[in-house]
């Protein structure tokens, strides 16, 4: 097995005048979790679909699990598990039937599927739901079944398009925990997300996208240190412009987003002293995170 799971070189795709993917290159090593991070419309889903051979790039070269894509995408897909953005389970089938039917798409016999079903159900914590109709499952359970289904062919690579969008925090944490388990087992994961927290918790490396272009790439921690590298004070209330001129001498950088003022301060105490005694302000001091990086790079806000 080659050590590079996914390799994109100068990939471009446009629909009419609209450029969706603009000269993108990146490589994902075997066994790593690689995140594509960006706002809605940044081209994340298109890239995921390209990797699966469902969208042909206009120009550029793609290799997935050693196969040229899209020409031989079918052979790559035989060793890929996919968690799509929207659940597409068979609602009228039971949990077990869903796995059986999906296994057949990989030419697995009923016996082969039966052999892996208990393990998959345990992984997805759906042991007690094996014979329940999918329509009766909660959103979190459906998502876990989708994840279990993606593992039926024992894939080397998992492609996940916004795997936790629309889930409540509890269900989301459960999915994250399962994904970490898969990484520990040596699986490679390509993940698209617009959740900063998800990217920060799971990804070894990530690529920040805006309008189909890569605007940063690296390890989450390194990106934060490199782009921000200090504490952040969030200031709510008050006039952002007046406040920013007051604290500017003590800040490395100030960003105004809506009614909130973000102050990147190497020495937060100095800033807090300036603001002491001012009525109506709420202050939050915290370490820098990926959202700060994104704001810094794009000047635009993303969903939390």
């Amino acid at each position: 097995m080659s050590t590079v799971a996914i390799d994109l070189t100068c990939v471009r795709k446009s629909y009419g005048d609209k450029i969706v993917v603009d000269g993108l290159s990146f490589a994902v090593a075997s066994g790593e979790c690689f995140g594509l991070l960006g706002p809605n419309g940044a081209g994340k889903s298109t890239i995921a679909r390209m990797i699966l051979g469902m969208v042909a790039p206009d120009t550029g070269k793609m290799t997935v699990l050693g196969e040229p894509v899209p020409a031989r995408a079918r052979l790559a897909r035989a060793r890929i598990g996919v968690v799509p953005q929207f659940d597409n389970l068979e609602l009228e089938f039971t949990v077990r039937e869903n796995l059986l039917v999906f296994g057949r798409y990989f030419n697995m016999s009923a016996r082969e599927v039966e052999a892996v079903v208990p393990e998959l159900l345990e992984f997805a914590r759906l042991e007690s739901k094996a014979d329940a109709r999918v329509a009766e499952l909660s959103g979190g359970m459906k998502r876990r079944l989708t994840l279990a289904r993606a593992l039926i062919n024992d894939p080397h690579l998992l492609v996940m398009d916004e795997p936790t969008t629309g889930l409540d925090p509890h269900a989301r944490h459960l999915i994250w925990e399962r994904l970490r388990l898969l990484l520990a087992r040596g699986k490679t994961i390509l993940l698209t997300t617009h959740f900063m927290e998800e990217a920060e918790r799971l990804c070894d490396r990530l690529c920040v996208l805006e309008a189909g272009r890569k605007i940063a790439e690296g390890e989450p921690r390194a990106l934060i240190d490199e782009q921000i590298g200090c504490q952040v004070i969030e200031i709510y209330g008050g006039n952002p412009h007046e406040l920013s001129s007051l604290i500017r001498p003590y800040a490395r950088h100030i960003e105004v987003s809506g009614e909130t003022l973000f102050c990147y301060a190497p020495d937060p105490e100095q800033v807090l002293v300036q603001l002491r005694g001012r009525a109506g302000l709420r202050l939050l001091q915290r370490p820098a995170n990926l959202e700060d990086v994104f704001l810094r790079l794009t000047g635009r806000e993303m969903e939390r």
Binding site: L52, A71, A78, N88, E92, N107
Partner: protein
């Protein structure tokens, strides 16, 4: 570009079976309602027209009208079953249910999916057509053995109309467009192709048009078998039906590629 089309064609000779079996499992859960739904319409036509008009019409080519009609109704019900399964059920699996989307994430290709859907629609056509033939045989309008001989012709009829409907599905933006295909193509074909009255009663221009339509070839294959009469031009009929099955099949895959993989 050519490489792009090659990648979406059926990958091998057996991948489609998984799609067929998925549809079979779904059908098994609602089989009774589905069978009744498929049979009610052609039965009504067979008895309503057969007994009602039969009294007025008398003999056609030496057989009773209802026996003449039976072969036409077998072909028609195969056509309708395949057409509707493809237009409504396959369209739903492509769109609302996202079934195709899920399958495209596996090692199956678009061509495998389309082939599986066609085989499934043809299976339903065989069920529907054979059921009418069984009723006709029970009432003594056809020989029991003739059912066995007509099954291949019913199956290929199912493939043809599933394949044609698949092209409509690949182009239709929504369900609303299917009614055009139904009223402008499917229904006129019933009357043009000799299902309910002999083609020879029509003006010669219409007869020539009928000769080009797939249902006419199906009727010309199925009716003589059911009536125990010698059939002519079998090779021509089978050849024409094969073309009507194969060409739209490849066309629909190309159209689906443009629609779904962009």
């Amino acid at each position: 570009m050519r490489e792009g089309y090659a990648a979406v064609m059926p990958a091998n000779a057996y991948n489609w079976v998984a799609v067929w079996r998925r549809n079979f499992l779904a059908w098994r859960k609602v089989a009774l309602a589905s069978v009744l739904g498929n049979l009610a319409d052609p039965m009504t036509n067979l008895f309503g027209l057969g007994f009602g008009l039969g009294i007025i019409v008398g003999l056609i080519d030496g057989t009773s009208y209802i026996a003449f009609l039976a072969g036409g109704m077998v072909a028609t019900s195969a056509m309708t079953a395949a057409t509707f399964e493809t237009m409504y059920a396959a369209f739903a699996r492509m769109r609302a249910q996202r079934t195709w989307e899920a399958i495209l994430c596996t090692q199956l290709t678009l061509g495998d999916i389309v082939l599986g859907e066609l085989a499934w629609a043809a299976t339903k056509a065989v069920l529907a057509g054979t059921a009418i033939a069984v009723v006709a045989a029970t009432l003594g309008y056809a020989a029991w053995a003739s059912i066995l001989y007509s099954i291949p012709a019913i199956a290929i009829t199912g493939f043809v109309f599933a394949s044609l409907a698949m092209v409509v599905v690949s182009l239709a933006p929504s369900y609303d467009y299917f009614v055009f295909y139904q009223t402008l193509v499917v229904t006129p074909m019933v009357f043009l192709c000799g299902a309910v009255f002999p083609v020879s009663q029509m003006p010669s221009a219409f007869q020539r048009v009928a000769g080009l339509l797939p249902l006419a070839h199906s009727v010309d294959l199925i009716r003589p078998v059911m009536l125990g009469l010698p059939a002519g031009g079998i090779g021509l009929h089978i050849g024409a039906l094969c073309m009507y099955a194969v060409l739209p099949f490849f066309l629909s895959i190309a159209l689906f590629r443009r629609r779904l993989m962009r």
